[in-house]
Symmetry: C2
Subunit: 68 residues, 2 copies
């Protein structure tokens, strides 16, 4: 993820953890200094490595909650 | 996505649509003939192209709903 800066502003919760210690997490993350967004993504145990994921605006997260 | 087969089993809803016509959607998708999972992903207007996304088990989706 060269060139991408991020800050985990809030760790909201863990959805699951797999056998390798990676967790699928819901966080609020600021990407490249922008306004924080909801973020669903796999992380290594110490947050040093990230997997693929999706970011959601507040509106998208609200809609998702209604649909789930 | 060569070699990956999928079937959109249920179109649950659209979270947002961008200016290019792509939509962020919540669907139930069967990947490679396996049991369907929840899937949050960007799709082109006619579902012919997919973007990055995350799949969620029923348990992960339930937990996500509680956290949002």
């Amino acid at each position: 993820m060269a060139g991408i800066e991020y800050e985990i502003v809030e760790e909201i919760g863990v959805l699951s953890t797999n056998a390798r210690g990676w967790s699928k997490e819901l966080n609020r993350i600021s990407w490249n200094g922008r306004e924080p967004k909801f973020d669903i993504r796999d992380w290594s145990e110490d947050h040093s490595k990230m997997g693929k994921g999706v970011t959601l605006t507040d509106e998208e997260a609200q809609k998702l909650k209604e649909l789930l």
